[in-house]
Amino acid sequence: MAEFSATVFQNEYLPDGGTDVNAIVTVSCAGAGTAGQTGAGAAGEIIIVDTSGSMGPMTMRAAKEAASAALSEIVDGTWFAVIAGSHQAMLAYPNVSSGPGMVRMDASTRAAAQQAVSNFVGSGGTAISTWLDLAGRLFASVPQVTQRHAILLTDGENRESDHMLTEAIQRATGYFQCDCRGAGTDWQVGEVRRIAQALLGTVDIIPEPEEMEQQFRAMMQASMARGVADAQLRVWTPQGAQVLFVRQVSPTVEDLTARRTEVNALTGAYPTGAWADESRDYHVAIRVAARAIGQEQLAARVQLAVDDQVVTQALVKATWSNNTDLTAGIDEQVAHYTGQTELAAAIQEGLAAKASGDDATATTKLGRAVQLAAATGNAEATTKLRKVVDVVDEREGTVQLKAAINKADEMALDTASTKTTRVKR
């Protein structure tokens, strides 16, 4: 049985007239178990592999091996299917044309699926909306599957009008989760990140074919470790208060503010997807009405709910004080993650500016990113940034764009931009 706990980090002291309360809430899960094995419903996995004509022979061979490796990581008993994606989506396995579009994993279905994968041939275009829609239909064909997860591999830009993909993402949002990987450098980070963020998944680049198998194996292992099928972050605020934002800030920055659904007039729910044994940090900012010096009040209850049951709660408080020693300090966690969030934005905005030819903005933004990465101790971001810019002065954030940049390095910086580091506690 999974056990959750929540801890709050904040400076609860507000100055006279202060209204904005910031807090980091760490939610931890232990004893999650294995996907589909906790009695709360079955798990389903769908592997979606790009089989468009752009897939070169090396990439295709690697993709087959990677999909095969992922299949071997799926725990017996899990419902699964394999989709071959091009300008249309094809159900590569199981070989059915009606009824349930998924089968349960065992030695023989695994072997048959791996056989089907080995027969992949690259041809046709890329219409990712059709891949997502087929995945949704396959999950829907097996009602007992309540934990739905897909892995999506693409190597190229989506070749359909933008609204097609947008609508397909909307149909899938809240229904299944999807981790996305891009092979090579001909795909669009922004496009694939949009899918992954909406579907509560990760995004990364696989620059070299030989890295693909390991990445697929790791993604599937991570998914199988998520024994808690779904959970909601809930934020209660007092009457008259305003939620300024709710962000996941670790392990990655994901702004959840706009994804609120109402539980009751004072409580909003934000999706968090499935949980393994892990901990995640959330940054909540609440605006409350200022009260008199010495007054203390609750600014938020931050809860995690599984199956509509609150399993853990942290209290975010506000105390008004005229002692500036108390009110002046910003909590270390809040400051750290505020910096990390700005870092993610600076990287993405800098790379977008660079792509549009605005080198001046790109230099400023990436310079700020270098400064923030150093200040918040994000070594991975620092390493990746240094492949894209020459650093003149790290503390001042002075940089120059490199004359020649490896495209894969630039994309890796982009996909990793939302990854955060934790501050030592």
Partner: protein
């Protein structure tokens, strides 16, 4: 023009349902009788609750019926905060009230500075005004462990020991006085036994408490005290009287001829020389008797109140002004005295218990 709180006199915000200063409910037409919900009536606090919660460690939630938020009247969550406005709620041990009869009431409050409320009280009364009442106040010593549990257990044991009334018809006044003194000594012993019962024998800082009890039987007031909790007699007409005598550093000074004002602000003024508990020096209370020959108030209180109005005349003035301000019931007057102590700083736990004697309406006196 803004209205003033009938309980404590602080100005009210426009449209306020509750006083920001003392928490009193103030309706559209506030009256002295208009008191807010009394948590202790709905969900009596028991010593067992406290002992169990202490055994589980501080913060272990006691299951009680939901109570209304002190700020907005909304529902209070199991976490101790309002589910509507987020206001922090006092723990029930931090603020409780008793009104055993309309003419007898008390308020026991944490104050503003201390983390816990180690004061305790226990009251009982016959329904007929002025007939028979017992007021018991104990002030747990903060430097000892679980004094909040011990003081409440001791207060209730003392009240229960006096359930059957003081000895009557013992012949001569001297014989009766001796019989009453024995009963009061037994009461102290019962309170002490209850405190010892709640104390971990291995505790490095065993619980200890002061003791004050006032027994009103018709026109008789009997008082027994140990430590520096006090009993005052505040007649409507005539000079107020400090009935009890402290066992304290200040009292030693007073006995040596120093005036009260100087003694009570000198070094060690608040050091008590006697107390209840495992390490009590002895269990012999100081006793006193007053003939209640006119209408007035009997007040038993802790030093959290009298620190701000020690002199009987000052206390009498405070009572008079609260009564004149509309606090004519014992509960309203007790609330007013507690609000006054909090407004003066609330540096200690505050307990004020009152019996109204002589008539039922002090405003007609």
């Amino acid at each position: 023009m803004s209205a003033a709180c009938p309980a404590c006199g602080e100005p009210l915000e426009d449209g306020a349902s509750f006083c920001e200063a003392c928490g009193s409910q103030v309706g559209a037409a506030p009256t002295a009788a208009d008191v807010r919900p009394e948590p202790t009536d709905e969900a009596p606090l028991t010593v067992d609750d406290l002992i169990v919660s202490t055994a589980l460690g501080r913060g272990a939630a006691r299951q009680h019926a939901p109570r209304p938020c002190v700020a907005c009247g909304g529902t209070v969550g199991a976490d101790g905060w309002c589910e509507t406005c987020g206001a922090k709620q006092p723990k029930e041990r931090d603020h409780f009230r008793e009104t055993p009869a309309p003419w007898v009431a008390g308020v026991c409050d944490r104050g503003l500075v201390h983390e816990d409320n180690e004061d305790a009280m226990a009251l009982s009364a016959e329904p007929a005004p002025g007939s028979r009442a017992v007021l018991v106040v104990l002030d747990g010593v903060s430097s000892s462990v679980d004094s909040d549990v011990a003081s409440l257990a001791g207060a209730r044991a003392a009240r229960d020991a006096l359930a059957t009334g003081l000895p009557q018809g013992a012949g001569t006044p001297e014989a009766r006085q001796a019989a009453v003194a024995r009963t009061l000594a037994d009461t102290v012993a019962a309170a002490n036994a209850a405190i010892v019962d709640t104390t971990d024998p291995d505790s490095p800082h065993p619980a200890s408490a002061t003791f004050a009890c006032a027994v009103v039987e018709g026109a008789d007031l009997w008082v027994a005290t140990i430590g520096d909790s006090r009993v005052y007699w505040v007649p409507d007409d005539g000079e107020p009287l400090l009935v009890s005598t402290d066992d304290s550093g200040a009292q030693l000074q007073i006995d040596a001829g120093v005036d009260r004002e100087t003694a009570e602000h000198g070094p060690h003024a608040h050091t008590i020389t006697k107390w209840l508990g495992v390490d009590a020096p002895d269990l012999v209370p100081r006793t006193a008797y007053v003939a209640l020959d006119r209408p007035g108030w009997v007040l038993a209180c802790s030093d959290g109140l009298w620190n701000y109005v020690s002199e009987p005349i000052a206390l009498g003035d405070r009572v008079s002004s609260l009564v004149a301000g509309g606090a004519t019931t014992p509960l309203d007057l007790a609330l007013g005295l507690v609000a006054f102590a909090n407004a003066s700083g609330g540096h200690d736990n505050i307990t004020a218990t009152l019996a109204r004697v002589g008539d039922t309406d002090p405003t007609t006196a």
